[in-house]
Symmetry: C2
Subunit: 367 residues, 2 copies
């Protein structure tokens, strides 16, 4: 069985975090005979600097071929003024779109050792474990027509199109219901059906999938603005939330910050299961961005990237036990009080990126 | 000088909250010779029940004529399954659109007496005083084409259009910069310019207004997902935020919940200043919704509605001293420990809607 990983460290703190993740992969190869083969390539601003675009066609081809892609982060002030079509983000968006990674799984977990780090009161976030399923290849991110039009009177008009089809909604809803069955059997779907027809379609199609295929799962609906409120008010009321690309972008970022563990949160972006092999195309990346302000200093938290590899073990290779092991190692490191600067309590001396990676590898060996 | 108010209590807790607001208006008429004249009419589900649509044309006409509109809230489960075109919300959206109320001012203030009620740690929200200026008549709420299309293969396609023009962006930006000059002289503008061309236009036009008309005000830009995060992380970093209709809907709801004072937060929706008289069309309403779960029980918090009238005094009638007086009366009531259920600490017996209204009127008399 082939286990080829394409590693795209990207920009900012991406390469630093990915270097520690590679240590972890090496540990699995050495100690668990996992036989991962690693290829590495460029994405984002660093790809633009070399190729004049944020994702070379050859890289795109490899991403389509390998068993899973691990991505660090893209973007930074150096590339802020590039034309829209070659911005670092376009590299990431091209990967998502061409690999057809329509289901983005974004857990927001509050690690017990970090409950104090949240800006929310401890009792509101302790034990938080919610999963946002964000539709990732449709909606306003990719809808046409789009662009800026110059008008005759010298003014301009900017347009984007929010568009969803029956099938786009149904397939991501199925991922949510499937996952809910392995969790608390509840799904909340979110849109703005009170003001957007695309939201009405969203609600009706999610309801259809529920009624026809998953009647055993509890389904409720809530407007996106209400979810934004309720996430702050009582985040533990939620379990699985399914929503569109744009609402998912905003709500999952809000949720990740609630947990107090932003530097800790991984994500998985999955395509459809191949009818013959059951395999899904997949890309794994931290929820956090490229953090240019701290890049290159060796102080970034690599745990979100490392935990993205745990998701990769679970979702791409069905190696649940190994994923559990890696997550346990991360928990142990946190319980031992090892902290990078972003999660260190005042008075606690933080460790660097490398020390954190080494601590995880050591914990893997000790478990 | 005419001072005619059109009062639209609407649905759910709207009528209860508005009844207390009318007591306050009566107090001003009796004690400060303000001479407000009140008309009352229907909007939302209750208007649908009578007229078969959520806003009668005659009501729309009066809204255009009067000096200011006060609205309670619209919507409720009774009308959830109505056709999109006659849903309660369409009444509110029609008012906003036809009165051209493009600037929605949504303060998120943490009342000192309520700092403990926030789900955020007290030190993060104590003293919070931010103002979100939401564009209210453009974007995906009103853009064409829109709707659900039946496809030949039996599937459907839902479309909405996000569209902004130079002038729509500039005029709301001006409101934000103007207001910033009276506050801390800082504006943060938010969009998703990294994925949406309409966001690029937004950013460029806001920057243009800054560079050409308000170079003295400090301007920064932040993606909407990052704002959603930073609002949770460190809300006091913000002062004036200007953003589009949809992002404003979500971010202002998130911000209002942070303050711990959702039942307390008013809003103002303003049109352009009349070139001759300087007067703006205006509608004032609480940020909270119609809360059908507690409607009719006499327990809703009327303070957001009452404080919306304070905004009305300030923005429609330039009666800043009276607005200050009313806000001071509300603060006094809170300092005295009077609480409706939504803001009562455990162990404190809450008062009802009427008692809260009476307490404000009594405080007005005592100040
Ligand atoms: C980098 C950007 C294009 C991206 C998005 O908006 O999807 C990011 O915010 C995310 O959530 O992965
Ligand atoms: C009721 C609804 C149409 C409205 C909106 O989405 O604008 C509400 O959420 C608001 O924020 O005023």
């Amino acid at each position: 069985m082939s286990r080829t990983l394409l590693i795209l460290p990207g920009d900012g703190i991406g390469p630093e975090a990915m270097a520690e993740t590679v240590k972890v992969i090496d540990w699995f190869n050495a100690n668990r005979a996992t036989g991962f083969e690693i290829e590495e390539d460029l994405v984002g601003g660093c790809a633009y600097d070399v190729h004049g675009k944020p994702l070379a066609d050859a890289t795109m081809d490899r991403a389509q071929q390998v068993d899973a892609v691990l991505l660090g982060a893209v973007g930074g002030p150096k590339w802020d003024n590039l034309d829209f079509s070659v911005k670092p983000e376009r590299g990431l968006l091209r990967l998502r779109k061409e690999m057809d990674l329509f289901a983005n799984l974004r857990p927001a977990i509050c690690f017990p050792a970090l409950a104090d780090a949240s800006s929310l009161k401890k009792e509101l976030v302790e034990g938080l474990d919610l999963m946002i399923i964000r539709e990732l290849t449709g909606g306003v991110y990719f809808g046409e027509p789009r662009g800026i039009t110059q008008m005759n009177d010298g003014t301009r008009r900017g347009v984007n199109t929010q568009v969803y089809t029956t099938e786009e909604i149904r397939r991501v809803a199925r991922v949510a219901f499937d996952l809910a069955r392995k969790r608390s059997n509840r799904v909340l779907s979110s849109e703005k059906a009170n003001v957007m027809e695309s939201g009405i379609l969203w609600r009706e199609e999610v309801q259809w999938v529920h009624d026809n295929e998953f009647p055993d799962v509890e389904l409720s609906h809530m407007y996106a603005d209400a979810v934004a409120m309720q996430l702050v008010r009582r985040p533990k009321q939620f379990d699985v939330i399914v929503t569109d690309n744009l609402f998912g972008d905003i709500l999952s970022d809000e949720a990740s910050m609630l947990s107090g563990s932003l530097g800790m949160l991984p994500s998985a972006s999955l395509g459809a299961a191949d009818p013959a092999t059951g395999k899904r195309k997949a890309l794994y990346e931290p929820v956090h961005g490229s953090a240019p302000d701290i890049a290159g200093q060796g102080i970034a938290n690599p745990l979100a990237c490392i935990l993205s590899f745990a998701m990769c073990l679970r979702y791409s290779f069905d190696m649940g036990a190994d994923a559990d092991l890696l997550e346990a190692a991360v928990s142990k490191v946190l319980d031992d009080g090892v902290r990078t600067g972003d999660i260190a309590e005042p008075g606690v001396a933080p460790v660097g990126t490398k020390e954190m990676g080494d601590a995880v590898v050591a914990a893997l060996g000790a478990l």
